[in-house]
Each structure stands twice: as structure tokens, then as C-alpha cells.
Amino acid sequence: MIDLIKQYWQPFLWGSPNHISGLAMTLWLTVISCAIGFVLALPAAVGRVTGPSWVRWLIRIYTFVFRGTPLYVQLLIIYSGIYSLDMVRNTPGISSFFRDALNCTILAFTLNTCAYTTELLAGAVRATPRGEVEAARSLGLAGVSLYRRIILPSALRRALPAYSNEVILMLHATSLASAATVSDILKVARDANADYYLPFVAFGIAAVLYAAICFMLIWLFRKAEQKWLMHLSPSQ
């Protein structure tokens, strides 16, 4: 057990000059997927609520498919399904993108979290009190400025608790990256287990690291809620 920890504490936590650590990779996967997913989900959510009917249907089909199938299957389709097509292999630009496991993983995670975030934000936009919109219209706000100044600030605040759940689920989902050979925390744990055959220690360390990130995220979101949802807190 001591040998395992001695040999693997660096891959788990700090990494080496040519490799980033499992911890850094897991954090990077979580942050980049959630960031891109959120940026794409914002217009998609508005389109889901107020777009023309063909846009609403398109986004609805997208979220239906990505929320109704396991992320693992989505990852397999993007990572091994698409790259196995000769058509993709023989097209230089596309081929080099799909050959890289990290690209495929980030693409799959982003599409997945974007689908969940779209529905979550769409729900928050729909729940905007009518009075807020009417008041804004009576003051001459319309179109983009109505959304930018009134609807979105209030909807994003309302979506914050649900979004914190989504980010934590995404953190947990990044452990699937190890199945696509990306060296995140779980991949390091699997390597350590293969070397020493001490599954409880190897996966136990991984579990503790994930739990630590999870509690840190919960703490960060609680701070965010205190800041942005202060007007809704019952005390004072």
C-alpha cells in the first residue's frame, strides 16, 4: 500500500513534466465541458421557449435524444463509432479531431451537459413571473434588451440551485473519460490497481479525491447562492 502511494501520488495529484495529473485532468474536463455547454445552452434555452416552432422542435429533439440515452453510449458513438467510418478517417481535418480521445470526450460531455442545461434554463425562463415581463414592456424594453436586462438575470438566479446539481453530476460523469483512455483520476486509479492489485486502496484514493472536489463545488455554489439569491433568503 505504501509502495502504491509512493509511486502514484504524483500521477494522482501533481503530475509530471510531460503529463498533467489525474486531478487536473478531471477538473479540466469538468470546467471545459460545463463552460462550453453553458454558453451553448443559453441561446438554446431561449430558442426552446420563444423560438419559431421548427427551432423549438429541433432543440426538443436534441435534448430528448441526449437526455434519454446513457452518456457512456454517447461517448462510445463519438469516440469509436464516428472514427470507424472510412469517410471520417480519410478526411484530414475531421480525422485528426476524432482520433484524439480527449477531443471526443470533451465533445461528448459538452453535448450531454448542454442538453440537460438547456432544459433546466428553459424551465427557469418559463417560470419568469408575468408581472416582471409586463413591467419591463411597459418601460419600453423589448427583444434582446428585455432578455438581457430582465428575463435572463432573474431566470439564471432561479436556475442556480438546479445548475449546481448539474455541475456535480458532470464532475461524476467525467470518470467515464477513463473508458476512452483519457488519464483522469479514475484512469490513474485503474493503472495503480493494475500495477499493485490493491483495488481498495487504488479506487479508495480516487473516491476520496472525487468526494473532495464535490464538497468544494458544493461550497462554491453555496457562496454563489448567498451572493446572487440573497434577496430570496428568509432571514434578515
Partner: protein, 232 residues
């Protein structure tokens, strides 16, 4: 290709069995966990909290590998010490117990919330009528808490159904395993067989999640009998 499609269907049946049995185990554990968390005994409540907090903080895949490989390792150590032949843990049994154990933590929280949503007066009235503890639970508490619990249960079910995909990683012959076998055994011009079989798997999951939505919509309507629907 027909043989592979049959395997895919057989794999789907394993997936459904796995998800259903895991759901039942998780529901049972969730009831026990909720009872523990709501118990007036401090150590029981703390045990319940430790269970839900630690399990829900760690990814299901990590827990699955941790539990499956650790238990197998311990079983090996015991059989070695006793000079017995090695026992391989059955992946189906492992899958059901691990998924049940993990999602039991999520059910604990869902059911705890549902129990607390039933007005206390209902239970006090039942006790006043002379019902014993079991009767109060089965006739009064359970039918009423299900109305509050169903949206959460439906959510958990969808998550369990999708989590069964992970059990192929510990070697269970479910639908993804069948698809991978089909992919290995066939070679199409243009290399489309991988995408084809994986898309079939995705469609099967989509079918299952959509069908279960209908079932839960029916159940929610049934358990809401006598209550007005507020929205829609």
C-alpha cells in the same frame, strides 16, 4: 446480422432485469435509510447521513469499480487462506447489488422528503384509531408519501436505467456488451458497423426511457387520485 440482433435483444432483456432488480433493492434500502435518517436514535440518524453523504459525493462508476474489485479481492484472499478454489463473483449479482447500494442513497433522500411531506396529523389520527406501527405505515403513510415521492422515483429510475450501461465495464453481458460483440464479429464496407450497432443501443435506451416516462405519468395520476392538479 440476425444472430447479432437477437443477442442485442437478449442484452436488452438483461439490462431491463438489472435495472428493475436494482430499483427494487435501492427502494428497499431507501426506505430503510429514510427510516434511519428520521429516527430519533442519534446513532441511526448519523449512520443514515453518513451513507447518503459519502455515496452521493463519489461517481457511480468509481464506486462500482471500488466495490466490485475490492470484494472480489477479499473473496480471493479468503479462499486462498482456506486453500479453496477461487470464486468468481457473478457480474449480474454484482451489478444489482452495487447499483442498488449506490442508488439506495439517492432513494433515501427522495423518500425522506416524501415522508416529511405527509401531514403529521394523518399519522396521529391513525394511531388514535388504534392502528399499530405497521398498519400506520402501510395504510396511511405509504399511499400518501408515494404521491410526493413519485417524481423523484421516476428521476432515479431514469438514472439507474442509464447507469446500467456502466455494468458492461465490469463484464456483464448486457446490451452494450452484445453490441461490442456484434461489432467485433462483423465488417462492413466503409466501416459503418460500429456506428450502426451503437446507434441501435442508443435507440433501445431511448425506447426504454420513453416507455418508462409513460408508466410513471400513469402512476403519478393514480397516486394523485383525489387531489386537484395545480398546473397545466
Amino acid at each position: 446480422m440476425n444472430g447479432y440482433l437477437q443477442q442485442l435483444i437478449a442484452g436488452t432483456v438483461v439490462t431491463i432485469e438489472l435495472a428493475t432488480l436494482s430499483l427494487l433493492l435501492a427502494f428497499g434500502l431507501g426506505l430503510a435509510g429514510a427510516a434511519a435518517r428520521l429516527s430519533s436514535k442519534r446513532w441511526l440518524a448519523m449512520l443514515g447521513t453518513a451513507y447518503t453523504t459519502s455515496i452521493r459525493a463519489v461517481p457511480d462508476l468509481v464506486l462500482m469499480l471500488l466495490l466490485y474489485y475490492s470484494v472480489q479481492n477479499w473473496v480471493n484472499l479468503i479462499t486462498d487462506a482456506l486453500d479453496q478454489p477461487q470464486i468468481e463473483i457473478d457480474p449480474f449479482l454484482a451489478g444489482v447489488s452495487v447499483l442498488g447500494f449506490i442508488y439506495g442513497a439517492y432513494f433515501t433522500e427522495t423518500l425522506r422528503g416524501a415522508v416529511k411531506a405527509v401531514p403529521r396529523g394523518q399519522l396521529e389520527a391513525a394511531a388514535a384509531f388504534g392502528l399499530n406501527g405497521w398498519q400506520v405505515f402501510w395504510r396511511i403513510l405509504f399511499p400518501q408519501m408515494m404521491r410526493f415521492a413519485l417524481p423523484g422515483i421516476s428521476n432515479n429510475w431514469q438514472v439507474i436505467l442509464k447507469a446500467t450501461a456502466l455494468v458492461s465495464i465490469i463484464g456483464l453481458h448486457e446490451v452494450i456488451y452484445a453490441a461490442e460483440a456484434a461489432i467485433k464479429g462483423s465488417s462492413w464496407p466503409g466501416g459503418g458497423q460500429v456506428l450502426f450497432y451503437l446507434t441501435m443501443v442508443a435507440l433501445l435506451y431511448l425506447l426504454l426511457t420513453t416507455l418508462s416516462n409513460f408508466v410513471f405519468a400513469y402512476l403519478e395520476k393514480r397516486y394523485a387520485a383525489g387531489f386537484e392538479r395545480l398546473s397545466q
